[in-house]
């Protein structure tokens, strides 16, 4: 019983991280109508950037954060303006295929640079410390990850609804054509949106790099998680991503509790069931 509660708690906490995976994907889809198939590989790229700065260059973690997040943002802006903006139109095929191409390039590029070895960051003592609450033990690192995730999502919510940039982003989401006649440079706004998405990916990438090990080929599984969370939480809903992330995390934890081999499968199956029963997501319809 304690074991079950522990793994459920773990599932809730990792749900925060999954929400971070999803938030960027959701943002980009909302504004550009592009599903970025390289999303997972970009997260893994962030993890490798952190790995390179911390483990290979030996820089302190806080400095790595200050390097990786801006680099991810820059990468997002450049990628969007240099490549993805040219694919946006009525046809969904070009952006899909171009991001698929980017995914393959990133995977193989990372393989060339970092080999196929398993990597993991070591954040030291915090990874093993845990908070005992009655029979339940929760790792401090997991709690920290969840807190960062909630704070990030809150920040994204604040940005969207309390700032000028957020207003412009939402207007562009609603109607990019009219936004342009209002004076919005949508190309630039798309670049900014991708930059924000990749900064969020970067936060998730750093946190996840110390959660489990990763390889250059870990991207697709991250993408699938992000995608499932977006669909479960309801497309376009910011807090929905948190609900979706927790749902998926708990489903995986339950599956894994029954049989370790069922962990991933349980997540997929919950996704399919929700898709079949509530196609608009669990917080369906709200934006």
């Amino acid at each position: 019983m304690t074991e079950l509660i522990n793994s459920l708690a773990q599932g809730v906490l990792i749900g925060g991280l999954y929400a971070l995976f999803a938030a960027g994907l959701s943002l980009v889809f909302g504004i550009m109508r592009v599903v970025n198939l390289a999303h997972g590989d970009l997260i893994v790229t962030g993890s490798f950037m952190t790995f390179a700065t911390v483990s290979m260059l030996g820089l302190p973690l806080w400095l790595a954060v200050l390097i990786v997040l801006p680099m991810m943002g820059l990468l997002g802006y450049v990628l969007q303006r240099g490549l993805l903006n040219h694919t946006i139109g009525t046809d969904v095929l070009p952006p899909l295929l171009v991001t698929f191409g980017i995914s393959i390039i990133l995977q193989n590029g990372l393989l060339q640079i970092f080999t196929a070895d398993n990597r993991k960051l070591d954040f030291g003592a915090i990874e093993v410390m845990s908070l005992q609450m009655g029979p339940v033990a929760m790792g401090w690192y997991a709690i920290l990850v969840f807190a960062v995730a909630v704070a990030t999502i809150y920040g994204l919510q604040f940005l969207s609804y309390r700032t000028r940039l957020g207003r412009v982003l939402r207007a562009t989401t609603d109607d990019p054509e009219v936004a342009r006649v209002m004076g919005v440079r949508t190309d630039h706004v798309f670049g900014i949106a991708m930059a924000i998405a990749l900064v969020i990916c970067g936060i998730a990438a750093i946190l996840f790099a110390a959660w489990t090990s990763f390889t250059p080929l870990s991207g697709p599984s991250r993408l699938l998680i992000a995608f499932e969370v977006v669909v479960i939480g309801g497309i376009g809903s910011i807090w929905g991503t948190l609900a979706g992330g927790i749902t998926l995390g708990v489903a995986q934890a339950l599956g894994g509790y029954l049989d370790p081999a069922w962990q991933t499968l349980a997540g997929h199956i919950v996704f399919v069931i929700i898709l079949a029963l509530r196609p608009a997501g669990i917080l369906g319809g709200r934006r």
Partner: protein, 235 residues
């Protein structure tokens, strides 16, 4: 003397389909010009060409004599041409205030503020926190006009001001036009209701199948001539 806004031999295309053929229209400073014509004549296309929604050749649209044809819409609005698009097209997930503030994205300085828009359209006062999609048609039109004004324009292009609105509400909204002209704004007006269009404008152009086939000072145009123009020469 150069007109404020003018088209010269303007052609416009949707893919292979040509929607406008050699259109010449002129808007003088402080004027209100009406565009009338049957459905599908090309009125919206003409406005779209002016704001950069439809790609056209550079020298075919002139603002103060400077060629601006085919510039991006974001650039054109920053030069002072604002529009109230067909179907109003508010941003549905933004509140009234936020919709109005989108007008400021043009980056132009000027007298228009949220408070001033509320003075022109008092009906919006207690709706400021509502979403655009929660408003009545008339209120939406007011927001669309307010949004254009917030960009401090020299010219406002109206497409189908009265479409789908009750006559009393149209009168409420139309009161804004003289007010705008007092503030030095020139107006291009597309309107289905020919009598109303003539009453509100100084000069009118009649478009049929992408060509101007009648024009004149609004007060001098006879309704019968316009009717004839609507159905083409042979009719």
């Amino acid at each position: 003397m150069t007109a404020l806004l003018e088209t010269r031999n303007l052609d416009a295309f949707y893919g292979d389909f040509q929607a406008l053929y050699g259109v010449d229209v002129k808007l003088e400073e402080g004027q209100c010009v009406a565009l009338i014509g049957p459905n599908g004549a090309g009125k919206t296309t003409l406005l779209r060409s002016l704001v950069g929604w439809v790609p056209v050749a550079r020298e075919t649209v002139l603002l103060n004599g400077q060629p601006i044809g085919g510039m991006g819409p974001d650039k054109i609005v920053s030069l002072g041409i604002a529009s109230v698009p067909e179907g109003r097209r508010l941003f549905p997930s933004l509140t009234v205030d936020e919709n109005l503030l989108m007008g400021t994205e043009s980056g132009r300085a000027g007298p228009w503020t949220l408070d001033k828009v509320m003075e022109v359209f008092p009906a919006l006062r207690d709706r400021r926190r509502h979403r655009g999609s929660d408003l009545s048609g008339g209120q939406q039109q007011m927001v669309a006009i307010g949004r254009a004004l917030m960009s401090n324009p020299k010219v406002v292009l109206f497409d189908e001001l009265s479409l789908g609105l009750a006559p009393t509400i149209v009168n409420d909204i139309a009161r804004a036009l003289p007010l705008m002209r007092d503030n030095g704004i020139s107006i291009v007006l597309v309107e289905q209701d020919v009598r109303r269009a003539l009453a509100m404008s100084d000069y009118a152009y009649c478009i049929l199948e992408g060509r101007i086939n009648l024009q004149g000072v609004s007060a001098d145009l006879a309704f019968e001539d316009i009717e004839k123009a609507f159905f083409g020469a042979e009719a």
